[in-house]
Assembly symmetry: C2
Homo-oligomer: 328 residues x 2
């Protein structure tokens, strides 16, 4: 029996039976799996096809999440529900109709940008941030209509605030941390975090070392202290977990994330020439099996059991249940 | 109130409000709409996106058919259910995973070839017919698994017989007529028709003049006589209607069907250089409003009301309800 219904708000691992077994052992009822970083529409279809194959191959471990309530079924079954998201808008190319088509294929979440300027908005690594583009305004309204969550994890500040303003439904940061905890281009200002909360959205705390104070040496206590301070800022109903776990991925995948097809020079993203590889994992969070460590850390930090449950999964679940329905 | 639940087993019109109104006025509860002739995967996504837009624009006239039982709902609502099909395997390109992906997007039917040799089989205009290819065998098994109907309307004889042999589920000819009625490359031998019936499949009778004895002058009596003879051959539970209506389409669309991107020379398909355009329509079947004329003709030919209902829609409905479910 799983005590908590736990959800990881972002992973992009080199998916395998072993990794799904770890998710199950860790007690996860759902994981938001990244489908695309720079993939175009056609490539994205093959990525979705690969997931169909995984569902066919390991039905005892994983199940597709077609509607958010499937996560409750997964919890009862002791399987891990998988829901899909894009970390970039590349899959829709220049065609607004593809928002609904990909929603029909089970895509619950799309980031408007991945670090760079996109057709919709600006990314957190750009020099300038023009906010939301003409196409971006159309896509936000369409995502609202069909029930696809707007994720601004890799977007720039102005773009993020404008997206929150334009969207009639919650906007999320699936995986990042407060900049007040650790100053990083990917972490978020208090203004953004307050806006996310006001929209009814959610911040998923990241365990990716580049997003943490002390990087790979960040302690569980320090992490849970950040959670507590953010709960004070945003409200405990607006926070969850989005680990950004990227297990067993070769350096070539990190290079694809960072460079896609857009750069002839090598971009090192959050790393550097001398620190180009994946960071070392946290001692207290090696993989999905350690999810209960976070829950335990939150209890130790003084969170009531009720709020531990909300942070570890129920906030995500309630958000998905309301924000991924088609608009009446 | 609609007396009969009527289904048209194939149309490819220049879709508009007027055409949907005609379907509704004609009492149709469902229409199989062609999505692709030569479109690749990416282009097909945009075609499906255009249908989403139509469903959004005219909800009082049409509704999507996501499961076959939606056709019964459409009948009760007095709306026209639309289900999707491909006339070619071009949308799946060389990727077997796209069979399931497109099934998830509501595609119920796929032809293995469109006149020409494809990656799967041979078309009815090819000089030679190698039967089902290596990829074709894989795709047939996958279509069986996910519940996508195999349609051999534009395929060659040996390919069709082999597909019937290989498939564990019904195989259909959505739109054609018996070659014994009118000798045409697109019409089917008795051997094929018997095979289709034995597979549990169905022949949809075409009203496209090139498939009819006397072409545009073919009488309703002659058409209904053909239906009666085919009922004797195949069994009345294995026949339906597949009009092949292509309303309001410019010549450029006919040229796209015939030439796609494969021919530098102009191919005239079932026409000829001197007869290159769309044929004149039948007097007794101008468009979907005349569907009841066919039912009336069948009654006049002596069909019992029960069988008129089966031929006009219930045979299609029962087939779709059994053959488009995922295999256990």
């Amino acid at each position: 029996m799983h005590d908590l219904l736990m959800i990881d708000g972002l992973q992009y691992s080199n998916w395998s039976q072993e990794i799904f077994q770890q998710m199950q052992a860790g007690g996860l009822s759902a994981v938001h799996a990244t489908i695309a970083y720079h993939e175009n529409a056609r490539e994205t279809l093959s990525r979705l096809g690969e997931w169909n194959r995984r569902f066919e191959t390991w039905p005892e471990l994983i199940r597709p999440v077609r509607t958010a309530s499937d996560i409750r079924l997964a919890h009862e079954e002791g399987r891990v529900g998988i829901f899909f998201g894009f970390q970039n808008c590349s899959p829709i190319e220049d065609d607004i109709a593809l928002v609904e088509v990909f929603r029909q294929l089970g895509v619950f979440v799309m980031q408007l940008t991945y670090n760079n300027q996109s057709l919709l908005a600006s990314g957190c690594y750009e020099r300038e941030d023009n906010g939301i583009s003409r196409f971006g305004r159309q896509v936000i309204a369409e995502m609202n209509r069909v029930g696809m969550l707007i994720d601004m994890s890799h977007s720039a500040e102005r773009s993020t605030l404008e997206a929150i303003e334009l969207s009639s439904r919650p906007v999320i940061i699936s995986h990042a941390n407060p900049a007040s905890f650790h100053a990083a281009k990917r972490n978020k200002s208090d203004a953004v975090l307050r806006g996310i909360a006001e929209s009814g959205g959610l911040l998923g705390f990241s365990t990716y070392p580049f997003h943490l104070k002390g990087a790979s040496d960040c302690s569980l206590e320090s992490f849970c202290d950040m959670v507590a301070r953010t709960a004070d800022l945003m409200g405990v109903q607006h926070i969850g977990i989005g680990t950004d776990l990227c297990q067993a991925q070769p350096l070539s995948v990190l290079e694809w994330m960072r460079n896609g097809r857009w750069s002839k020079d090598k971009d090192y993203g959050e790393g550097s020439r001398d620190n180009a590889n994946w960071p070392a994992p946290l001692q207290w969070f090696r993989d999905s099996r350690d999810f209960r460590n976070i829950a335990q850390g939150l209890r130790a930090r003084g969170f009531a059991e009720h709020d531990v449950g909300n942070i570890m999964g129920l906030n995500w679940l309630r958000l998905l249940e309301t924000a991924t329905t088609a608009q009446a």
